[in-house]
Chain length 308, copies 2
C-alpha cells in the first residue's frame, strides 16, 4: 500500500488532518521530566526523559490523529543516546498505528542522499524505526532528490519536499526570481510526484507549505492538485483555521496540518491553567481536531470565519 | 581563536589545502573491514568496522593535511550505533590535531536550527565530538541560518553554506533567476561573514562551491574575497588541478579542496594496483598534497596546465 493511500486511509479513519510535531524542547517539558534540563544529568538520562514524554504524548494521540512528526534536531543534541530515543519514539508511534513523518530535512548528492534514504525509509536498514515519510530539502537539485524518489517507490514510502517554509524570512531565497523559486520547486514536485501515484489519485511525493503564507498556500494547492501538503505554522507559530483552509482538497483530503508546541506544551497556555500537562495536551488535541477536522472535511467554513 | 584563524594556521602548518572526506561506503571498504557489508553482522559491528577504518585513515592524514570532513549520512544508516561511530571518529580526528568539518548540511527554522547548532558546534553539548565547522543548507532563509552564525560566534566555530554544489543537476534551482540563486546566496554569505572575521582577514563563515563548475568558482572567488571556500568535486567526481586553481586566494589561502573516495578507496584504482589499501591511501594523500599544495601555494600553475 503506497504512502499516499496509507495517508488517505489514516485521514479518513480519524476524520481529521492534525499532525502532532514531536519536538521535545527540554526547557519546556513538564516538571516530571525536569531531569532533561538538569545540568548534572547524563545525556542518556536526558534523552530517556524526552523519549518517555513523547511516548506518553503518542498514547494520547493514538487513534485520534493520523500522524506524528518527530523532529530530528531535538534528538541529535543527545548524540547516540538521542538516536536511541528517536528509534524508541518512532517505533512506539508506529506500533500505536500512527503514520510517522521524520522531520529530518535531509538533502545531499546522489550516493549520500541514497544513504539518508536508506537510513530513514528502508525497513531493512531502519528496522522498527523506519519512517513512513521524511522531509527533504531540494536546494541541491533533481539528481539529489532522485534517491529519495527511488526509496519512496521501493519502500512504499513518502517524501515531503520543502517548498515554502513557515519561518519569517523564508522569502529571502524561496521568493527569488520569476517565477519565484518556490513555484519552480513546486512544479518539479508535481512532476516528480507523477511516478509515485497512489490508487486514490494522490501522490506519495508531497510538499511542505507554511500556513503563515495563506495566499501562497491557496495558489500552491491549485498548482499541485495531486500533491499531499504538510502545513506547518499552525498554533504556536501564529496561523489559525482561516489560514490553513486553503490547503485542503475537497473532502478534507490532501493535507496534514502540524502543531508541535501548541500540543506538547499546552499546559503552559493560560487557557489550560491548572490542568495536569496530560489533561492540557489532551484538551489541546481535542481543540485542534475540532478545528482542523471541521475545516478539513469541508463541514465548517464558518469555523474559519469565526476565528479569522 | 576563531575558526578562520585555526583554518589559516592549519593550512600554513601543512602547506596544503587538502581536505579528506570521510564517507565510509560499506561496499567499498577494504577486505579486512568486510564485516561492514556482511548481512549477518549486527549494526554495531558494521558501524565499528567503518569507524575503525576511518580512524586508520585519520592516522595516515594526521599532520599531513589540515582537515577531515566526516559525512553524517554514512553514519546515520547505522542508527544509534552509527552515531557512536561518528563520535569516535570526530574525537579521534580532533585528538590527531585535524580540523573537523561535519558534513551534515542541516537547515531548519529558528529553534530547530539552534538545536542542530548545539548538537554539532557547542562543546558543552557535543563534548569531545564537537566539530570545528559544519555545512549548512540555506534554502530556509536568513533567520534559519542565524542560529548557526550565533553558534559560530559563541563557540569560535565555522560554517560552510551551500552555494554551488558539485552534483550534475545542481543548476536546477541554484541557477534559477537573475541574478542566479547561488549568486544571491553568495552575497548573503559575504554579508553574514562580516560579523565573524578572524584576525587574518578571513571570515569563519564559508561557502561550498563545487570544482565541477570552474567558471563559477572563479567568479565566486572574486565575489567572496574574505570567505573560505570548501571545494568538493575533486578526484572521483571528475575535477582536477586545473578546475580548482581558481578557488584560492593569493598564497594558497582561503580554500579547502575535498577528496573522499579518491583517498579512502585508492586501493581500487589501477595506478595503485597491488598495494595494501593503507599504502594506496597513503600514496593518494601524497599525490593530492603534491597537486593541491603546489597549486594552493601558487608555486605551480604548471601543475594545473600539465594536467589540464
Amino acid at each position: 500500500m503506497t504512502y499516499a493511500d496509507r495517508l488517505e486511509a489514516a485521514i479518513a479513519r480519524t476524520a481529521n488532518s492534525a499532525l502532532i510535531g514531536l519536538d521535545p524542547h527540554a526547557d519546556s517539558l513538564p516538571p516530571e521530566f525536569a531531569i532533561a534540563r538538569d545540568p548534572k544529568a547524563s545525556r542518556r538520562q536526558k534523552a530517556d526523559a524526552c523519549a518517555q514524554f513523547l511516548c506518553e504524548i503518542i498514547e494520547l494521540a493514538a487513534g485520534r490523529v493520523p500522524a506524528v512528526k518527530p523532529q530530528s534536531a531535538f534528538f541529535e543534541i543527545y548524540g547516540a543516546d538521542g538516536i536511541h530515543a528517536w528509534e524508541r519514539v518512532v517505533a512506539t508511534a508506529r506500533s500505536a498505528g500512527l503514520l510517522v513523518i521524520g522531520d529530518v530535512k535531509r538533502g545531499d548528492i546522489d550516493s549520500t542522499a541514497a544513504a539518508y534514504a536508506r537510513a530513514f525509509l528502508d525497513p531493512a536498514v531502519a528496522g522498527e524505526a523506519v519512517c513512513d515519510a521524511i522531509t527533504v530539502n531540494p536546494y541541491l537539485g533533481g539528481d539529489a532528490v532522485q534517491p529519495f524518489l527511488d526509496a519512496a517507490k521501493a519502500h512504499q514510502a513518502g517524501i515531503y519536499v520543502l517548498v515554502r517554509t513557515s519561518n519569517k524570512q523564508s522569502a529571502l531565497f524561496q521568493d527569488h526570481g520569476t517565477p519565484r523559486l518556490y513555484e519552480r520547486v513546486a512544479s518539479c514536485v508535481r512532476e516528480w510526484g507523477n511516478s509515485c501515484m497512489g490508487s486514490g489519485g494522490l501522490s506519495s511525493i508531497g510538499a511542505v507549505v507554511g500556513a503563515t503564507h495563506p495566499a501562497e498556500l491557496v495558489s500552491l494547492r491549485a498548482q499541485l492538485p495531486t500533491t499531499p501538503l504538510l502545513i506547518p505554522g499552525y498554533g504556536a507559530q501564529g496561523a489559525g483555521a482561516a489560514e490553513i483552509a486553503g490547503g485542503f482538497l475537497p473532502g478534507g483530503r490532501g493535507a496534514l496540518v502540524n502543531s508541535s508546541r501548541g500540543i506538547l506544551f499546552a499546559y503552559k497556555q493560560p487557557r489550560y491553567a491548572g490542568l495536569h500537562w496530560k489533561d492540557a495536551s489532551r484538551a489541546a488535541i481535542d481543540a485542534m481536531i475540532a478545528e482542523v477536522g471541521a475545516l478539513g472535511c469541508g463541514r465548517s467554513a464558518s469555523g474559519a470565519q469565526a476565528r479569522g
